[in-house]
Point group: C2
Chain length 337, copies 2
C-alpha cells in the first residue's frame, strides 16, 4: 500500500541521462526538444511510472491548479446532483477537476454560516482556479465577496445581492406565469399555492410569476389558499390535505418545487379529490398519480453544463462584464382526463 516515494523528475533525468529541465520540457510537451531526446525521456517516464507532482507544478506563480470547486447545499437534492454531473462533464472536458463541497444545514434546518466561511477559506487556501456556487440565500454577499475577489465565481439558481459574478438562472417567473396561465385557461379560479420561502431566490420569482399571471387576467388571489414555508414533501402533503378539507376547496394546487409537488400529489391521490396539480420541477411518475398534472421542467444537467461553460470561458481569459444566462423551462402536461 505504501510503496516508497513516487519517482520525481530528478529520477527520470538520471534514468534518461538528461537534465531536469529537459524532462520538464518533455513532460510539458514543449517544442525545441530533439526527437531522440524526447523518446529517451518518454521511455524513462514510462519505465519509472513517473507522474508529475501537481502540487509542485502549482507552486510557480501564474501556474493554475486546474481545479474548480462546486459548492452546493445538499447533493441529496436531485437538482444539485444532476447539476454536479453537468458541471463535471464540462470541467473534465476542459481539463479541470471538480472539488465538491456541501454547505449543509444545521440541526434546526438553518444555514451553517460558519461552515460556509470555512469552505470559502478552504477554497482560497487550495488556490482553486474558479468556483461554482449554488447559494443558499440572497444575503450571502459578505461570504462570497472575498472569494470573488480572488477567483472567478459563477452563481447558479440565485445571485446574492452585492456580489459580482456570472450567473445562471432558471426562468422562474416565466415558468410560473405559464403554468398559472395554463390553469386559468382551463377555467380554474380557486388556485391554491403550496411553497417554500416566498421572500427570496427562486421561490420569490415563482410566487411573483404566479401573482402576475392571475393579475393579468383578473383572477383574484385567495389568501386562505396560500401556504408558504413548507420544507418537505410531508409538510406539503399536510398543507394540501388541509386545503382540500376547506369548505370551499381549491380546484387546482400550484406547487413551488418538486418536494411540494410530491406532497400535493399524495394528498390529492389519497383524498381521491378531483383537483389538478401544477408544479415546478420534474417529478417522476407524476402523470400516473393524479388525473391531471402539469409540470414546469428543465434539464438540471444543462444548467450545470452552462454554468461550467461560463466559468471555463472566464478561466480562458474572457474579460467581459458579468454575464447572466437564463435557462428556458418547458411546460409539460400529463393526464388521463
Amino acid at each position: 500500500m505504501a510503496a516508497g516515494r513516487p519517482p520525481t523528475m530528478r529520477d527520470v533525468a538520471a534514468h534518461a541521462g538528461v537534465s531536469v529541465s529537459t524532462v520538464s520540457r518533455v513532460v510539458n510537451a514543449e517544442r525545441y526538444v530533439d526527437a531522440a531526446t524526447r523518446e529517451k525521456v518518454e521511455a524513462s517516464v514510462a519505465a519509472l511510472g513517473f507522474l508529475r507532482n501537481e502540487s509542485a507544478r502549482t507552486l510557480r506563480p501564474g501556474q493554475r491548479t486546474a481545479t474548480v470547486a462546486l459548492v452546493v447545499e445538499d447533493l441529496t437534492n436531485p437538482f444539485s446532483a444532476e447539476l454536479a454531473h453537468g458541471v463535471e462533464l464540462v470541467a473534465a472536458a476542459a481539463g479541470y477537476v471538480v472539488l465538491l463541497l456541501s454547505t449543509g444545514r444545521d440541526a434546526a434546518g438553518e444555514r451553517d454560516e460558519v461552515r460556509e466561511q470555512e469552505i470559502v477559506a478552504e477554497l482560497l487556501r487550495r488556490r482553486v482556479d474558479g468556483v461554482l456556487v449554488v447559494p443558499g440565500a440572497d444575503d450571502a454577499a459578505g461570504r462570497y465577496a472575498a472569494l470573488a475577489e480572488r477567483a472567478p465565481v459563477v452563481f447558479v439558481d440565485r445571485l446574492p445581492r452585492g456580489v459580482r459574478g456570472d450567473v445562471v438562472l432558471l426562468d422562474n417567473a416565466g415558468g410560473s406565469r405559464r403554468l398559472t396561465g395554463w390553469l386559468v385557461d382551463r377555467g380554474h379560479r380557486r388556485i391554491a399555492y403550496v411553497g417554500g420561502d416566498r421572500r427570496s431566490g427562486p421561490g420569490a420569482k415563482r410566487y411573483s410569476g404566479f401573482r402576475a399571471a392571475l393579475k393579468a387576467v383578473g383572477v383574484p388571489e385567495h389568501r386562505e389558499l396560500l401556504r408558504f414555508g413548507r420544507r418537505s414533501s410531508e409538510e406539503a402533503r399536510t398543507a394540501t390535505g388541509e386545503l382540500l378539507a376547506l369548505p370551499d376547496p381549491p380546484t387546482a394546487v400550484f406547487c413551488d418545487n418538486n418536494r411540494m409537488t410530491v406532497g400535493a400529489l399524495l394528498a390529492v391521490h389519497r383524498a381521491g379529490a378531483d383537483v389538478v396539480v401544477a408544479g415546478f420541477d420534474h417529478v417522476e411518475l407524476a402523470e400516473v398519480l393524479v388525473d391531471r398534472v402539469a409540470l414546469v421542467t428543465y434539464d438540471p444537467v444543462d444548467v450545470g453544463r452552462r454554468a461550467a461553460g461560463l466559468l471555463v470561458e472566464r478561466l480562458a481569459g474572457a474579460d467581459v462584464a458579468p454575464r447572466k444566462i437564463t435557462v428556458p423551462v418547458e411546460l409539460a402536461e400529463f393526464g388521463n382526463r
Copy 2:
C-alpha cells in the same frame, strides 16, 4: 477579480516583525510559541488576510494533501448522489476535501476505459490521500491496482477481482432472498424477473438470491419469465408489458433495481393488471401506483458514510487486513390490498 498575488508567509513575517519559521509555527498551532508573539502573528495574518498555500505545504515529503477522491460512473443516479453526500459529510468532518470524478459511459453505453485510466493518473498526479471507487465492472483490477499500490482505496458496491482494498457492499443476495421469500409466502409461483446484467456485481448477487429463495422452497424458476440486460426504465416497461401479455402471465414481477421497478410499475399500472411488484431500491411514490408493492431499501447516504469512514480510518493509520462491510437492507411493504 484578479487582485494581485495573495500574501505569503514572508509577507506576514515582515508585517509582524518575526521570521517565517515563527509564522509557520503559529499557523500550524504548534506549541513553544510565546503568547505575545503568537498574538502579533495572528494579528498580521488577519490584517493581511493570509491563507496558507496548500500546494506549498503539500510539497514536503510526508505532508498530506487532505484530499480524497470519489470516482463514480454517473452522479445522475440517485444512489451515487446520495452516496456522494454521505462521503462528503464524513470526509469534511475528518478534514478532507472531496474530489469528484465521473467515469461516464461512451455513446454506445460502454465503459470508457481510457477515461478511467486518465482518472487514475490524475489522482496519482494530485497525490490524493485516498480514493473511494464505485467500480463499473468486476474486471477493473488492472485499472485500479496501480492506484491501490500508492494510496488506500475503498471500493463500494462491488469489489473488482484481484484488487486489494476495503469494500462496502449491500446485502444484495440476502435482500433478494427475503424479497423473493415474501412473494412466495403470499402464494406466488409464477414470478417474473426483470433486471440488468446478471453476470457480475450487484446484479449477479441479486439474481442468485432470487434463485436461492425459489430453490429453497421448491418453486420452479420459469425461464420464459426472465428478462435480463435491461438498462433503462423504458426497457423495463417494455419487458414487463411483454410479460403481462403472455398467455400465462406472471402474478408477480421481481425488479433488479430502481429503474426496473419504475418501468414495471408503469407497465402494471397501465395494463391495470393484478400483479404484485417487488423491487430492489427505493422508488418514490411506488406505493400509490400499484395495488401491492414490496421494496428492498437501504440508505445510500449511510453507505457513503461507512465507506468514507473506512477510508478515514486507513488514513489515520489503521494497518489492518482489508475489511468488508455489508450494509443491511430492509424489506418495506406497501399497498392497498
